[in-house]
């Protein structure tokens, strides 16, 4: 099995790609760069411009906002998409806490795939909506009565 196919199989376990079929995943894998950062490597720095989406395949990372840890990430989690969707500075710093394997998708290919792989954009929208709802920022339809 070649490297791309292996990566496509691993992406199957990532929730962001759960609606994609194997052919979609092979396309995503073709445009993905694999990196293997050691522990305590800053992958994303708060305030900097975003240029990539990161998917944690192995290892772990912590998310800090204003030097306060706000989340721990494990295999299958992804981060960095907000700064790609809306070109604002990174909202948090993400640092590996163990030797990790990350799949990285750059800004251009992220946007191309959002346009050309509809299951990916559908799932991303669904997850963003869920996060907004969970954060309580927007009332649910039940709360407003429709």
């Amino acid at each position: 099995m070649n490297q791309r196919k292996q990566l496509a199989n691993r992406l199957l376990d990532v929730s962001l790609f759960s609606r994609c079929d194997p052919r979609d995943l092979r396309i995503v894998a073709r445009h993905t760069t694999i990196a293997e950062p050691a522990a305590e490597v800053k992958l994303v720095t708060q305030g900097q411009a975003g240029d990539a989406l990161f998917v944690l395949l192995d290892g772990s990372a912590r998310v800090e906002r204003d030097e306060v840890v706000v989340a721990e990430l494990g295999p299958g989690d992804y981060f960095g998409e907000l700064a790609l969707l809306d070109p604002a500075p990174r909202a948090a710093t993400v640092t590996t806490t163990a030797p990790s394997v990350v799949a990285v998708l750059d800004l251009r290919m992220f946007r191309v795939l959002l346009r050309d792989v509809p299951p990916l954009s559908a799932e991303l929208l669904a997850q963003l909506a869920r996060r907004v709802r969970d954060a309580g920022a927007v009332p649910t339809s039940a709360e407003v009565g429709f």
Binding site: A35, E36, P37, R115, D116
Partner: protein
């Protein structure tokens, strides 16, 4: 170019290579070397301006601009390979030389130039930072001064139909004379008026029966050179052809009304494998009616089963026929290769088609202007040449190789950037403006430098070389200023979202197998 000459010399040991391959090597090699070097140096300076070290900047330059050079070189080389369909050594040499020169130019830009840049170090960094950011041009602030070509693109986008029609009219006006092209072969009149060969031939043409100096050779395989009755029968048939004045053979010098007995001179028509005839025409060799005489000679076998017509005049006619006859096939191959490669670059069938059509339009306009000047003789006094009423059949093909290569280069530079901008912004309008803003200066600089070189070539006293230089200068100017600066943005604007449309299956194919020129990611480790 030295590298290409070396490889061509080696190739000449194995196969026949035309001396004119050297012309192609010089012009195309110089053009591509300038284009590729400008692309690499421009990108390298951008990287240095982003505070990268020399090594880091070079690595990123080769990962981005280097990839563009490889793709462009592959496109140009693959297209030039189509010239092998011409069964003429001269033109096949263009294919060999073209592929070699493209390969050497690309290799030099990717190996020698980076070594030089590393040696020069950070001194090439621009004093002021680039006016557009390298990664997200669409997000440039409104206060950034926009390059000239960005402003030009905005001008075109305000009235795209008007610019498209205006540019098309210019191209069409230039192209119209091409409809009357009369392909032929170069003769003494291509030389300067004071050249010895030119003066001698001019005198022959003016004061003597010039047809005598250019007889047509007819070979009758297996014919008996002593069979007088058969020889006479054949000669009478030949003399009945309009335009034939005399036939020389083993039986003497025969006109329709008389015959001079043979002399020792006539022994040259005798051979064990047959006999041959020297047919003298009334017509000058540059008279188009000579072609009719050659055709009639081929059709007139008389008492023989077969006759073969040769000699310089027949060779000229055959060469023109075989070259002109294969042009559609060669063009179809070039178009198919170009379309396929540009689709792999852009993922857009329409953009790939537009590139092919515009390249053809641009070259047709150039050829039209050449016909008007060099065939019809306009501006001949100003440019200092003698018009012959024909265009040398090989020159447009040589020019096509060079101009097409350069044109494809510019196309790849521009389209790669426009596509990148569209991918980043999703906006056709921003893609056009930013794509042109980021490549217009480069294309223009390359075009201006090349035009100066080609104009220098056009000062040659030899009309064919003059035509090559003038044609290439015109081709580069038309391509850079009419096609890239106005027609391309206008058509992109008019097509709108259709530029980026492709059937789903083709979109997926492109995503999987296409060529993607992305900035290298730098993930901390």
């Amino acid at each position: 170019m030295l590298g290409t000459f070396a490889v061509l010399s080696l190739l000449a040991v194995l196969i026949e290579v035309s001396i004119f391959a050297v012309n192609l090597t010089t012009a195309l090699g110089l053009g591509l070397a300038i284009d590729y070097s400008l692309l690499i140096v421009a990108r390298y300076r951008e990287e240095l301006a982003a505070d990268r070290t020399v090594e880091h900047a070079l690595r990123r330059t080769l990962q981005t601009a280097g990839r563009t050079v490889v793709f462009s070189a592959a496109t140009v080389a693959a297209s030039l390979v189509a010239l092998v369909v011409f069964p003429v050594v001269y033109l096949r040499s263009f294919a060999y030389a073209g592929v070699i020169v493209v390969t050497v130019a690309a290799a030099s830009a990717l190996v020698v130039l980076p070594a030089l840049l590393a040696w020069i170090g950070p001194r090439l960094a621009p004093r002021t930072p680039p006016r557009l950011p390298t990664t997200a041009p669409a997000t440039a602030s409104a206060t950034d001064p926009e390059p000239f070509w960005g402003r030009q693109a905005r001008r075109v986008l305000r009235r795209p139909a008007l610019w498209a029609i205006g540019s098309a009219v210019v191209l069409a006006a230039l192209a119209i004379p091409f409809a009357g092209v009369d392909p032929g072969r170069v003769d003494d009149r291509a030389l300067p008026a004071d050249a010895s060969a030119r003066r001698a031939t001019d005198d022959l043409r003016e004061h003597f029966s010039f047809g005598e100096a250019n007889p047509i050779a007819v070979f009758a395989p297996g014919a008996d050179p002593d069979d007088v009755d058969t020889l006479v029968s054949y000669e009478q048939a030949v003399l009945a052809i309009p335009g034939v004045v005399r036939v020389d053979s083993t039986i003497g010098f025969t006109r329709s009304d008389s015959r001079v007995p043979p002399r020792a001179y006539n022994e040259r028509f005798r051979s064990d494998v047959g006999t041959w005839f020297s047919v003298v025409s009334w017509y000058d060799p540059d008279d188009p009616r000579v072609d009719d005489v050659v055709a009639a000679l081929r059709a007139t076998t008389g008492p023989y089963d077969e006759v073969l017509v040769g000699g310089p005049l027949a060779v000229i006619g055959d060469t023109v026929d075989v070259v002109v006859g294969r042009v559609p096939l060669a063009l179809a191959i070039v178009a198919a290769i170009t379309f396929t490669l540009l689709f792999l670059l852009t993922g857009s069938p329409l953009l790939a088609l537009k590139a092919v059509v515009l390249n053809v339009a641009s070259l047709t306009a150039t050829f039209g202007a050449l016909v008007w000047v060099f065939q019809d003789g306009h501006l001949s006094d100003l440019l200092g040449f003698t018009p012959t009423g024909e265009v040398d059949v090989f020159t447009p093909i040589l020019m096509f190789c060079i101009a097409f290569g350069l044109s494809m280069d510019y196309e790849v530079f521009v389209l790669a950037r426009v596509k990148e901008e569209y991918d980043l912004t999703g906006s056709n309008r921003l893609a056009i403006v930013n794509g042109l803003a980021r490549t217009g200066g480069l294309v223009t600089a390359a075009a201006v430098v090349l035009t100066i070189v080609f104009v220098a070539i056009a000062t040659s006293g030899v009309a064919v070389v003059k035509m090559l230089g003038a044609g290439l200068a015109l081709a580069v100017l038309i391509d850079a200023f009419v096609v890239r600066a106005t027609l391309t943005p206008a058509l992109l604007a008019l097509a709108g979202p259709l530029n980026w449309w492709a059937p789903r299956s083709l979109r997926r194919f492109h995503l999987r197998w296409g060529v993607w020129e992305t900035d290298p990611l730098e993930v901390p480790s």
